[in-house]
Subunit: 281 residues, 2 copies
């Protein structure tokens, strides 16, 4: 299968690397072209990367980026052959996704949305959680590619369902990160050894991926990536556009808005900074 | 080892049963004595249950209950022989625990605090998470008993450390339950199949014991025990007495205060009731 891959950021670069390692014929493109170094086949634009390809994977930052890559002057739509399949793994608005899908269909190009969870570790190890929306037949065409990138690939429903599920994920983990941050601050303020506390709680109801993988950041006040706080903030804003009253998601959004200027490029466990600060820790 | 066991509630009854099944010589006592049925050896008071015992396990509801069981007119202190060890597995205030320990020491009775997490399932299966505070030698004396009751037993620090760790646990899971409730409400309002969403997210950053074990309650609006909402509310109040600013813990406390009259005896996943209500679900 001939694959085009657009977007070689913290997530996209190791994902494209895993596809090459799995034996796919991969051509890459990135806006900042230096990031293409290390890949054998490179293209100078989304249109070029899509030409002659069965499938184009996109992993970029936000809704306007996806629109530009697809429909811009040198966009995928100007290069992809009829019958091609776009697999958008970026996290963007579900409504925009449905609109893009309809516009691509006019060119006889299919699209599925397949946003991911699992951070840069998951991207590197090929263990991402992938939430997929689209027509069954399109999802099946993409499955050999998705199976290389993800440890768990779930087809949720029609186009846009992947993005909606990702929004749900971002809301849920808001509560987890805030809960773990508050618990650890209470532990440290109470004079407990926070490492022992994490060890003790890791098998009970407080068991979670966040406690296992991010408590150490919060204790040691270093927040390496992981998953950028600025991107989580962007995703939460999408989720809150629903207009539904989601209090912990809103609270975390507001905290992240205060932290983003200074800590936006750090892991979202940097949320603990504000909880520590308020507790005088 | 001869063991006295006080408190045969949702948690205590299966725990005492597990000790009997493991071959310990167990005598039980419960305030409502009917609950002693099914146990061979029963005592009419805490003093009687403690007489001649090496170790007395307590699993009651709150700080005043522990005080009454230990120091009331028919309290443990009037029956336990010098050198006995009290293992308090209730969840109560850490400060009160230290006070009780000091008062028991005057009678040459030792005490450790060993509150648990894991709910009624954990109590039944003997897989509780047990957070222990006390002197090393006392913890070692109790370990054969704790190992039967728990899947993970962690000695955190001096007397009171178990209770402080439990408070940390209750703060952390506040964020988890609220996050999962908000995420599921967003999923259902967005028209997604919530079971597929849970399945998809269970391997990523949203992985947690709460998502695995309690999402179903929230989707189906039935909240069997589990762990009583009223007891979690009691525990959160203890945690918030610290005076530390813990916003999601405070938010969940306030929600639970609104729910407790009607839903206090249900599992704390009933927290979802308010999130659903606000979303018009």
């Amino acid at each position: 299968m001939k694959i085009g891959f657009v977007g070689l950021g913290t997530m996209g670069a190791p994902m494209a690397g895993n596809l090459v390692a799995a034996g796919f014929d991969v051509t890459v493109h990135n806006r900042t072209r230096q990031r293409e170094e290390g890949f054998e086949k490179r293209a100078s634009s989304p249109a070029e990367v899509a030409s002659d390809k069965d499938l184009v994977v996109m992993m970029v930052s936000d809704t306007p980026d996806v629109e530009e890559v697809l429909f811009g002057p040198h966009g995928v739509v100007h290069g992809a052959p009829p019958g091609a399949l776009i697999v958008d793994m970026s996290t963007i608005s579900a409504d925009a996704t449905k609109d893009f899908g309809a516009r691509l269909a006019e060119h006889d190009i299919a699209m599925i949305d397949a946003p991911v969870s699992g951070g840069s570790e998951g991207a590197e190890k090929g263990t991402l959680t992938i939430m997929v929306g689209g027509d069954e037949a399109d999802v099946e065409r993409a499955r050999p590619v998705l199976d290389v990138l993800g440890g768990k690939v779930t087809h949720i429903g029609p186009l846009g369902s992947g993005q909606l599920t990702k929004a749900v994920n971002q809301v849920i983990i808001s509560g987890y990160f805030e809960g773990v941050a508050e618990g650890l601050v209470l532990a440290m303020k109470s004079g407990l050894d926070p490492y022992k506390v994490v060890e003790a709680l890791s098998a009970g109801m407080a068991r979670s991926a966040v406690l296992e993988m991010r408590a150490k950041n919060m204790i040691e006040q270093t927040y390496p990536l992981g998953f950028k706080l600025a991107l989580h903030l962007k995703d939460l804003k999408i989720a809150l556009e629903s207009g539904i009253d989601l209090p912990v998601a809103r609270m975390v959004k507001e905290t992240e808005e205060r932290l983003v200027a200074e800590h936006g490029d750090e892991d979202m466990s940097a949320l603990a900074i504000e909880v520590r600060r308020k507790a005088g820790l």
